[in-house]
Symmetry: C2
Subunit: 223 residues, 2 copies
DNA sequence: CGTGATTTTGAGTAGCATCAAGGCCTGTGG
DNA sequence: CCACAGGCCTTGATGCTACTCAAAATCACG
């Protein structure tokens, strides 16, 4: 499932020029679908998300895609085990990022302590991945969708009375590839949650969490 | 499933004294089932595995256990997003570890560059978690078992002609909790692989990989 | 040798993937 | 402005995988 279709590949209009010498710490804009880095690229920088949402994915040898995670404002993306990236990263929507030099992680730079933030980002990512694995290991499709919606509610949602709302500017395929489900199951679970009055969906991409707390509980899986 | 039974809790005979002031970089021994750290503990150190195997796990609120990963010789364990551990870690068998001071990750210590190794360990862990997630997301039970066996073959196996053998000193529950399967399914897949002459099992805990390469291929899942 | 834990095997079932249409939004051209 | 085409999303029917419940077999230990 989810083999790479030509349609899927239309994506990358602009790749960020990695030769940007000045180590600007000013945020700069990227448009939707921009590719921040790809699997195999030299890791020339880490990216701190200022606004927007990024999708981090990897491909299996068979061409199957897996969405490892998402990058939200405040997150730092681009950690690889060595000097090379091991995943692809592109913007789900228009976004702003700050580029940090990565060699503080790998090199001998004496200014490492100035960049404690970057190390911390790596540790946070470890935690995020652990959470993700726990979810994949044991939860039902419904619980996973609830977890996904809770995540986005927390990270990019805006309060609306006791509700939370947000725009999800990505196809259902991304959700499926992130949760390890098929798009059909994603769709089915969403309508199920809608019928249970836990969420409302307008325009296919605009979500309202009607009972955020209840969703959180579902996301826990058991407990 | 896998609720904590009293039997499960017999485990922790000795907890490592975290007040060991001298920052010895000499390896020291721990016996089987020793607890290196627990969820919520202050992160006083990182542990470099010299020999043996460690199990890193987390509990859900409902008391369900999830095995996040394993620590093999060469691995560095104990990364948390902040100054506290977020997982439990205990020795599967007797083992040796080196303790590293963790404050180089969190504090302002100027000697951070001396400890580039530790940062690198965190990045490797990110990669390991990504691999694990990909496996959990998309593979069948059989493929997961193959991946598990391949992992242990690579990390603690000894060559035996064209075979690879190793002792797996952990209950089936650990495998199940790591792969997101039930113990019954683990058992079934193992006998299936045995009947297909991909592995041989003696004494329940001694494994021989008869076709390591074939197992690797299965582990890839697709592709 | 007996007891309790772990592992294996079996039968039945629930949940999700797969295959296959059908509906909805978007953009394009007449 | 309307008709049409191509994605994307949703819904339906079916089958398979792995979980659950249950019991037998093996192992560990006293």
């Amino acid at each position: 499932m989810n083999m790479l279709s030509p349609a899927r590949l239309k994506a990358h209009p602009v790749s960020i020029a990695p030769s940007d010498k000045k180590r600007t710490l000013l945020p700069y804009c990227v448009q939707a679908e921009t590719n921040l880095f790809r699997d195999g690229d030299i890791c020339s920088g880490l990216f701190e998300v200022v606004s927007g949402v990024f999708r981090i994915s990897r491909l299996t040898r068979g061409g199957r895609r897996y969405v490892i995670g998402f990058g939200f404002p405040g997150d730092i993306l681009g950690y690889g085990p060595d000097r090379f990236h091991i995943s692809d990263c592109d913007a789900v929507s228009a976004a702003k990022v700050i580029r940090h030099r990565a060699d503080v992680l790998y090199g001998d730079s004496a200014q490492l302590q100035r960049h404690q933030t970057l190390v911390k980002g790596a540790l946070q990512q470890v935690e995020a991945m652990q959470d993700h694995c726990m979810m994949l290991g044991r939860n039902t499709a419904r619980d996973r969708i609830a977890a996904f919606l809770s995540l986005f509610g927390e990270r990019i949602g805006t309060p609306l009375g006791r509700y939370v709302e947000f725009d999800l500017l990505m196809p259902r395929t991304d959700i499926a590839d992130y949760l390890g489900l098929s798009t059909e199951t994603v769709s089915r679970c969403l309508t199920e949650l809608r019928h249970d009055n836990l969420i409302a969906i307008e325009n296919v991409h605009h979500f309202v969490l009607l009972q955020p707390q209840h969703l959180e509980e579902l996301a826990e899986g058991d407990g």
